[in-house]
Amino acid sequence: MKAFELYDAATVQDAVSMLSKFGPAAKVVAGGSDLVAGVMKDWIHGKGMPYPEKLIDVTTIPEMVGIKLASDSATIGAATTLSAIAESPQMQKGWRVLTDSLFSVASPEIRNLGTLGGNINQRPRCWFFRGEKFSCYKKGGDFCFAVTGDNRYNAIIGGELCYIVHPSDAATALLALNASATIAGTGGTRTVQFDNYFTGPREDVLRENILKPDEVMVNVTIPRLAPNTKTAWTKLKFRQVYDFALVSVAVVATQENGVWKDGRVVLGGVAPVPYRAKVVEQALAGKNIKENAKAAAAAIKTVARPMSANAYKVDVATALIEKTLLDAIA
């Protein structure tokens, strides 16, 4: 790893002004489990991805740590650890699909270090991106090695130019829960729905979301579920620990007598963004969930465009969507 300077931010304003003063070689750091121990330790950098020289620690900002409950929502500081959220009885009671997703992340030790903001904003795991020697589009290079190389874990939906899958389990659950993030920058503070937060390679191949270089994610707000809403989480992985989603599914279903009224079906591990499967939601609208789960799940096949070695993921996604819908209403 190359040497860097570390600055403890005292307030959000402090972090924002340091980011804008230091410019592109400055990065926000929280637990450091991806940025320092992954990206920097493995020398991942390129023309479009400068090696960080100055790190701004946000875990020292009191307002960014902890969970606040209100009658209609929960607000979680972006620097709160994944363990603290997953183990919170109130979060388990109100937002089980989120706590289940967090318990499926990595291992207990990594969840003790990693934070919510770090999980949502972590960089992709495409093995070419993570290999120091591959100068691919995502690092500012001029090639996607996944197109001609081994792409068994890459995207089956929404890839173009770059075919990563978004690595964050928290993001998949938060999108299903219709959550939003508060973001602070030099221009002030804004609130962004996760619907509009993640961006694909078409918009800008060098990043995965709308966060600007001088911006900090301050907290995440999750609305309480509407009455008669059921949820479920499934994540398929090769190993029970330390593994990213081959495919994951978060279902949040508002139903009446078993009929789908409203809700979301969101997939992880299939697309460059956490993917809202609207085709599946539409196939369920106004219908009995149990009777139509199989047919609705199969609708995902109409939007999937697998690569040379990952067509199996389409079948996996179809099966997991059906399973998760049935789990939610069981």
Binding site: M1, K2, A3, F4, E5, L6, G31, G32, S33, V36, A37, G38, M40, K41, D57, T59, S83, A106, S107, P108, E109, I110, N112, L113, Q240, V241, Y242
Partner: protein
């Protein structure tokens, strides 16, 4: 850039003069000569380097000591009470729960955190807590049995 870090390890205060980007694993092993904490994958994927920070298991290969100044760091060297082994160490020795021993320090520290929070865990809770500690030798059964025996035997010293 080198700087002086003040670390509290196993109840002792240390001042070490190290580059700020060294990991906790490197500082423990190379600067404090505490080589009981093992260097496995250095990727956060094996648990061999697990130590306790304020009583919670953390991977030393992912953590930066500069972030841990003022926190209570406990390594395997701090587990026994002087010459008296910790009940976990006794149980591991009695049941042969260590074979090559490489994963053992990380397993013991993670198990200590578990027993400190939950003195009588179920088999399921033990499996859950130790999920991040990979072992190539034992097949885990002996490890779980030893944690259970330690829980039975212990008046756990804190």
């Amino acid at each position: 850039m080198k700087q002086v870090l003040h670390l509290r390890v196993n109840g002792q205060d240390h001042a070490v003069y190290v580059p700020a980007h060294k990991t906790l694993l490197e500082v423990l092993r190379e600067d404090l000569n505490l080589t009981g904490t093992k260097h496995g994958c250095e990727l956060g994927e094996c648990g061999a380097c697990a130590v306790l920070v304020d009583g919670e298991p953390v991977l030393a290969c992912l953590a930066l000591p500069i972030e841990l100044q003022g926190r209570e760091i406990t390594t395997i060297e701090g587990l026994a009470d002087g010459a008296t082994p910790h009940p976990l160490q006794t149980a591991f020795a009695e049941l042969g729960a260590a074979q090559c021993g490489y994963c053992t320090p990380g397993v013991l520290m993670t198990a200590k955190a578990l027993l400190d929070h939950n003195p009588h865990p179920s088999r399921e809770e033990i499996r859950h807590a130790l999920a991040g500690n990979l072992c190539r030798c034992t097949g885990y059964a002996k490890i779980y049995e030893a944690v259970e025996r330690a829980a039975e035997n212990a008046k756990m010293p804190k």
